[in-house]
């Protein structure tokens, strides 16, 4: 074994440390946001369902991280007749409160 190899073979601990730091920084973000998305989804579902009848499968929640900015994308598909019915039902009420 050359002297170079001798020094090179010493200290695998710093490699372990660095690998762990990179891996965990990644895992904490992805696992952490999974929970956040699940919570947001549940609460959004409950809020929308209080007012409009719709298919829970038609709600999509996405969290995108890129650099300093994160975007939360919420996509809800609702049948047109449900919206029409709901606005008709609420319209007189809102006019009263405005007056």
């Amino acid at each position: 074994m050359t002297l170079f190899n001798f020094f090179k073979s010493r200290g695998t601990a710093p490699v372990a440390r660095e690998r762990l730091q990179i891996l965990l920084a990644h895992e904490r973000v992805s696992l952490g946001s999974c929970d956040l998305i699940a919570i947001l989804r549940d609460e959004l579902l409950a809020t929308i369902a209080r007012h409009i009848e719709f298919d829970p499968e038609k709600l999509s929640v996405k969290l995108d991280r890129s650099g300093a900015m994160s975007t939360l994308e919420i996509d809800v598909e609702i049948p047109s007749e449900e919206i029409a019915a709901e606005t008709r039902r609420r319209a007189p009420l809102s006019r009263v409160s405005a007056a």
Binding site: R10, G11, T12, A13, P14, A16, R17, R19, L20, Q21, L23, L24, E27, R28, L31, G32, D35
Partner: protein, 271 residues
């Protein structure tokens, strides 16, 4: 006031059961009433490490399902009379445990013990989640090794989200117990250092337990090291960890640190 502590790790074989038994025995030796509870349904071992394997009649599932009274299931240690064991079932399915059943047992234990120490199974499945669910604080057992550190990080995440404590919005008190530590290998740069692990996991340190033949000897005999050989290096390390858990301030020794010349000359212990 009684405290419920979960001993957990994610990874198997890092020393959860040994640590539960050793810390439980050390706390009980100070006169505190301690109950150690095995949550590893189907693979129970806390009874064996405590030398009570032939005395198990009823277990956690029997009590949780109301088939036995808590008093019938508790096994009192023959050497320390304030130490009790509630064993896990060896034959039942782990799904036999429910949230409500476990909560009832834990609450009943709270009313008659100073410390309830829950020995978690490995993994992040139902048994592990139930072991941590009603705890007030956690001891995260970690080896200075990449897979153990990664799994501990995952468990810390679960302690902060899946426990009653977290759901109430409180911060669960978590402490790291570094086990199987080898100072010589660490000095040679072959093993993650205490500082490395603390830096990565960022939770406070409860203790450092050295890799030691005395621990294997103790479990061979069915007596925790704090009972069987409390003056050994590992025995003292567990004793110190137990005192810190009880709120005492005990200086942290790194086991296996070389004695300096002055200490050697005067024959003192490395501090």
């Amino acid at each position: 006031m009684s405290k419920v502590i979960v001993v957990t790790s994610g990874k198997g074989g890092v020393g959860k059961t040994t640590s539960t038994a050793s810390i439980g025995a050390a706390l009980a030796q100070t006169g505190k009433r301690v109950c150690v509870v095995d949550f590893d349904v189907g693979l129970r071992n806390l009874d064996l490490v405590l030398g009570a394997e032939r005395r198990v009649v009823y277990d956690l599932i029997n009590v949780a399902q109301g088939d036995a009274k808590l008093k019938q299931a508790l096994i009192r240690d023959k050497r320390i009379d304030t130490l009790y064991l509630l064993a896990a079932s060896q034959t039942r399915d782990k799904d036999a445990l429910t949230d409500e059943g476990v909560e009832r047992v834990i609450n009943e234990l709270r009313s008659s013990f100073d410390y309830v120490i829950c020995d978690s199974p490995a993994g992040i499945e139902r048994g592990a989640l139930l072991a941590m669910r009603f705890a007030d604080q956690a001891v995260v057992v970690t080896n200075p090794e990449v897979s153990s550190v990664r799994d501990s990080d995952r468990i810390i995440g679960l302690l902060d989200s899946k426990t009653r404590c977290a759901e109430r919005g409180d911060r669960m008190d978590k402490q790291l117990l570094l086990t199987r530590f080898d100072q010589a290998r660490c000095s040679r740069g072959e093993m993650l250092s205490v500082a490395d692990v603390l830096d990565i996991l960022s939770i406070p340190l409860l203790g450092i337990i050295p890799e030691s033949a005395d621990i294997l000897r103790a479990s061979n005999l069915g007596a925790p090291i704090t009972m069987n050989n409390a003056s050994s290096i590992a025995g003292r390390a567990y004793g110190d960890a137990a005192r810190r858990l009880a709120g005492e301030t005990v200086p942290m020794l790194v086991p296996g640190t070389k004695k300096n010349l002055l200490n050697r000359v005067f024959g003192r212990r490395a501090a």
